[in-house]
Symmetry: C2
Subunit: 369 residues, 2 copies
């Protein structure tokens, strides 16, 4: 028998004031997205496993919580990510809507198991997708929006880590010598910062990429000094312009890092902040596969609200006033219209502190206690 | 193979503007709850089936979507209702918090199958629970809050249907003659308004309860004329006071109706409105079982937001302005601060109508188009 009050591993209740903080952060972030023209969509929590899974990578697909639908006998799954659902909506139900299409979303996601850094199995994901373009201008808008939205939460120490997920493949395509290594070998050696390994396989040309990681301005300068094809140089210019347009936050560039998001195209990014372990959010450019088998360019980001809540952000400092028995309803309504949360005493001995009230109504005005 | 874009039966995407309307309604309703002192809790979407199921009636328990947890091998279920989760929190993690405890919640719920009236399997439930009292004052507060919150959504034709779920049992306990009928027989005959059946079993004393259904004032007067025990008469007085304190909406009393919510105690209620098929919400007094096996009185209500959205409520009429290429970032920020949603053109030929913009920026001011 399950003890009353016990929850399965990796699942938790949010209590006051954290539950309200979660709602306030979601509201604030999505309001910022809306003010930049992103329109809300709300896909369902559950879809066909085949449909959800086909829009995830293999490892992520194994993290889907799945079950047999008692109605259709199909295998359904709880979504572990909303990005893919938004892409599905964009290329099916909103296929005829003009591009770029700007969509936002917010809601819970679930996965089979948490990680050491983030043991929760249920979390709240919010984000935007800009569909129909992954141009430098689109990337600039999306990265800037992520930074603006997070800054609006009061998060301190916000920093941005940029990556160029297709850089190595682009250089190989442009003729940089692989020696006896494969593209995958070179990417793995770069992920491990393995200079010796690169040289051993005759792929020493890629070594300078390891040194070109760090604060964005210096990293961009180091990269620009390399013999790059024009297309890559244009992307560096786009990254430099994007960085220049950001407010004064720490920006690093780790050009060959892929963060396990191999589906991204020319730019990827992660966001970090003071007091939040691990990433707060991530995003990048990618391609959505349409029902006709074509692809459509897109760029977006997801933010994970729970890390912000755990860091103490979003807490709403409500002014709470206890209304003694018999308080006139019109007086109570006026206080609420003035921004007070009113707590009606149901007995003559109700004490303000028991109800987290900072004030008690004295006549027609709140009195601090 | 599942066609791209196909969703399982009973599940749907919310698109613009309905997705935003859902979020706006949830925000408005929960803000009203907060202004009345109700503090937010957020239980998980998934719990042990045993735990969720034990707080539901038998029929509702069969509607839980369940699956085996790949981690613990326990049977888990997706919640079909949040009320029971809030009760669990109240009597476990918040057992030591002063009563009455006022909690609110909002979130998705899922069930195995929809109904003919409401085919969706996923819906958004919001509500409040007042825990530690089901006194007339508590009932008055909760019913009034439900009406106030719904009125704030702009819903027209709001009406309230009150019930007294334990009335028949209370009258039997006070000695009203059952004849050859059982309590369950009488309740079933009253549910079917079966006058002949009541008389045939010698339970004709209960017949006047059938006529005492209808507009609340008249129904209360008819009931008051019956030979009632003092405890029931006191409850009628409480219902009359509650009705008198409400704004000018249609209130009916169907004293013996139980709406399938047999766990309710002395009062139950349902809410209806123009353009919304079926109930918008329901509530009532009930008892929460504590881990020690005792009970704690509570009263609350749940509202179902999807019916309001489907009736066209909650749609946010955003002022959207297209920003031509090269618009100054400071000008854009000022427009957003003034309440505009800005849509940045990513190409010189962007047309306002394609992005649902009502205005285009002309110099530093929006111009209607």
């Amino acid at each position: 028998m399950i003890p009353p009050g016990l929850l399965p591993e990796g699942l938790r209740d949010r209590l006051p004031p954290q539950a309200e903080a979660t709602a306030a952060l979601v509201h604030g972030l999505t309001a910022t997205f809306a003010s930049h023209g992103y329109e809300r969509v709300q896909p369902p929590l559950v879809e066909y496993e085949e449909s959800l899974g086909s829009r995830l990578g293999g490892a992520a697909r194994r993290e889907l919580l799945r079950f047999t639908d008692p109605i259709s006998q199909h295998t359904l799954a709880l979504r572990s990510d909303i990005t893919g659902q938004v892409g599905r909506i964009a290329v099916t139900r909103l296929a005829a809507t003009a591009r770029p299409l700007r969509l936002s979303y917010a809601g819970p996601v679930l996965r089979v198991r948490g990680t050491q850094l983030s043991p929760e199995r249920e979390s709240v994901q919010v984000g935007v997708e800009l569909i129909g373009s992954d141009s430098p201008a689109a990337a600039g808008e999306v990265v800037s929006l992520a930074v603006t939205a997070l800054a609006g939460t009061g998060l301190a120490g916000l920093s941005l880590d940029l990556t160029m997920p297709t850089l190595v493949a682009d250089l190989v395509a442009a003729g940089w010598p692989l020696g006896r290594a494969s593209l995958a070998d070179v990417q793995a050696l770069l992920d491990g910062k393995d200079v010796g390994g690169l040289h051993a396989l005759g792929a020493g040309a890629f070594e300078p990429l390891i040194a070109a990681a760090g604060p964005a301005d210096a990293a961009l300068a180091r990269l620009a000094a390399l013999p790059l094809p024009d297309a890559v140089r244009a992307r560096l210019d786009a990254v430099a312009a994007l960085v220049a347009a950001l407010p004064d936050i720490a920006v690093t560039l780790d050009p060959t890092e892929r963060h396990g998001f191999e589906y991204q195209t020319w730019i990827g990014f992660s966001l970090f902040g003071a007091g939040v372990p691990g990433e707060i959010g991530r995003g990048g450019a990618y391609a959505i596969v349409t029902p006709e088998g074509a692809t459509e360019a897109a760029i977006g980001f997801s933010l994970y609200v729970d890390g912000l809540v755990d860091a103490g952000l979003g807490v709403v400092d409500a002014r709470r006033v206890l209304l003694p028995l018999g308080t006139d309803a019109a007086v109570a309504a006026r206080l609420r219209a003035d921004g007070w949360a009113t707590v009606a005493a149901l007995s003559a001995d109700a004490r303000p502190a028991d109800f987290r009230c900072t004030h008690i109504l004295d006549g027609v005005e709140p009195r601090a206690i």
